[in-house]
């Protein structure tokens, strides 16, 4: 197989995986899911680091800007998603035990 075809294979298979893993998401979680997926593409930070590693002059400046932007995307994205999900779980845990007790009492 020629190089581009190998990459194309990885791409096509990833498309199917990407659709498959989220196909059963409930609409309750749309906002955190979107925010979490958004954070994952922040991994472009990796690319920004690689291209900046040997840059100099204008290219270095541009590379550093790219690193700052990508880091905002990645770190901010994961943190804000966690903040949202924390609220979902915090109230869920005591709630489920609470209703179980109520059910037993009735």
């Amino acid at each position: 197989m020629s190089e581009p075809v190998v990459w194309l294979t990885v791409f096509v298979l990833s498309v199917f995986v990407g659709v498959e893993v989220i196909s059963k998401v409930s609409s309750t979680l749309h906002t955190p899911l979107m925010s979490g997926a958004n954070a994952i593409h922040g991994v472009i930070l990796l690319g920004a680091i690689i291209v900046t590693a040997h840059a100099s002059g204008v290219a270095l400046a541009v590379g550093l800007v790219a690193i700052v932007l990508a880091a905002v995307n990645m770190v901010g994205g994961f943190m804000v998603t966690d903040r949202m999900l924390q609220m979902f779980t915090r109230k869920r845990t005591p709630k489920s035990t609470g209703s179980a007790e109520k059910g037993a009492a009735a």
């Binding site: 990796l46 290219a59 932007l69 994205g77």
Partner: protein, 462 residues
């Protein structure tokens, strides 16, 4: 510069972790763990180059830049109000797209400088990354401005928009072609500028109610941009991660568009064709029936079945805590109360669930649209708080209305409707709501938080 085998294996591990992260995020119990797995994988992936790149220059500067970005992102993530979540996601997405475009420009500079023949496929991917990344950046900035109300949320159109739009797209394609034929940095820079212009033109004509779909679409765009960037840099992790986000984002966009009864093409290009009649955005002076908190309390307190329709206005007024108190008080009177959550309630899909979770509303009381729509006809009272477009019957009765075809909550089936509103101002879609003038409807004017606490006290006093 080839990546050592051990590093490639670690990248593969990170790719698997991203898949697990997405899978975790789509289930309520596993979501938080999923997100943490994704975060850990991202950190590991970004640390790798420091270990395998030979004689890396600029290490200190790179670390400083990472620290600056981390501080900025963390500050935004910690301080943002839950009501402003959609614009935060849009902003994070935009900077990601911008970063990808810059990375591709730098790589193009390198390719042009060394004169290596990498084949047209790599150059085409570079052009794609530069163009779509710029589109995503500019589009997200406009989305942010619309949601933050720095500019009008109504569609912005001007004569000849369709022509300029087509010209920008054509320009992007021609420049991409030039770039593939002859990799030159000037072509890349012009392509980025055209991309920025195209991003503006793409999002400006989109009306406020459709902006959430656009956030999701731009998220998918950035994903695909990162994937193409991964191919340019021969980095499998970027390819897989970007593709995962691109594919799932596209799927999610289609899912949401379906929930709104619209096609993505209609959302993006509806205004271009001039097909939709736009809301006037003005209040009308037709007569309505209004009442005070005491009357509303009597209606609610002596009902058997109450359904609450919360909207974005509730969260803006920070009234969700008082609302929960009201529901608790009604529950003590043995009244069955549920919340009816429209899929696009709030400013992005699923947003209302986040806002009510913040107020610690029990999850079981939140009912999705399909689950509760049949119950409205049995409801004695529907209390609409800060919502508007999601109960607007125009979606069913007025072909040509911007929200026509969007499935709505059947609040108009209830015996009585109480509308808690600050003013007669129309909703985010900018169209008038016939339900306000229905004879079953009573309006309760005032700030949602203030009125809600008065309502709680009035019910307690019954």
């Amino acid at each position: 510069m080839s990546i050592p085998v051990w590093a490639q294996v670690v990248y593969l591990g990170c790719a698997v972790a991203f898949i697990l992260a997405l899978k975790g995020l789509s289930g309520p119990r596993t979501a938080r763990t999923g997100n943490l797995i994704g975060a850990a994988a991202a950190v590991v992936a970004c640390a790798l180059p420091f270990f395998y790149l030979d004689d890396m220059d600029n290490v200190v500067l790179i670390l400083v830049a990472i620290a600056v970005g981390t501080a900025g992102g963390a500050y935004g993530a910690r301080t943002v109000q839950m009501t402003q979540m959609p614009q935060m996601v849009a902003l994070f997405n935009g900077v990601g797209g911008g970063a990808a475009a810059l990375v591709a420009l730098l790589e193009l500079d390198e390719i042009a400088g060394t004169g290596l023949d990498l084949g047209w496929f790599v150059l085409a991917a570079t052009a794609f990354t530069v163009f779509v990344g710029s589109v995503s950046f500019a589009g997200s900035v406009v989305t942010f401005a619309k949601l933050q109300e720095l500019m009008t949320s109504r569609p912005v159109v001007f004569p000849g928009l369709a022509v300029v739009f087509a010209a920008a797209l054509l320009g992007g394609l021609v420049l991409s072609g030039l770039l593939v034929a002859e990799p030159a940095i000037w072509a890349g820079i012009v392509l980025a500028l055209v991309g920025l212009a195209f991003g503006l033109l793409l999002v400006l004509p989109v009306g406020g109610a459709d902006v959430p779909i656009v956030i999701s679409l731009l998220n998918a765009f950035t994903g695909l941009t990162v994937a193409a960037g991964g191919y340019v840099l021969s980095n499998t992790l970027l390819l897989v991660a970007g593709t995962l986000v691109g594919a799932s984002g596209t799927f999610l966009t289609l899912l949401m568009a379906r929930a709104m009864g619209r096609s993505v093409a209609n959302i993006l290009f509806g205004a271009l064709k001039g097909g939709s009649t736009l809301g006037s955005g003005e209040a009308s002076d037709r007569p309505v029936k209004s009442a005070g908190p005491t009357d509303a309390a009597i209606m609610l307190g002596y009902a058997d079945r109450v359904i609450i329709v919360p909207g974005y206005g509730l969260a803006v007024a920070q009234a969700q805590h008082s609302l929960r108190e009201l529901v608790d008080v009604l529950g003590e009177r043995d009244i069955k109360v549920d919340y009816a959550i429209h899929p696009v309630a709030g400013r992005m899909p699923g947003h209302m669930n986040v806002l009510l979770a913040e107020a610690q509303v029990p999850y079981e009381q939140l009912k999705e649209m399909d689950e509760i729509n049949g119950d409205f006809k049995d409801a004695d009272v529907v209390l609409v708080v800060g919502a508007n477009d999601v109960v607007n019957p125009a979606a069913k009765t007025t072909p040509g209305a911007p929200i026509y075809g969007m499935p709505i909550l059947n609040a108009d089936d209830a015996k009585q409707i109480i509308f808690m509103k600050r003013s007669m101002r129309p909703g985010f879609a900018g169209i008038e709501n016939e339900l306000l003038f229905d004879e079953k409807t009573t309006l309760l004017f005032g700030d949602a938080k203030d009125t809600m606490s008065k309502l709680v006290n009035a019910v307690k006093a019954l």
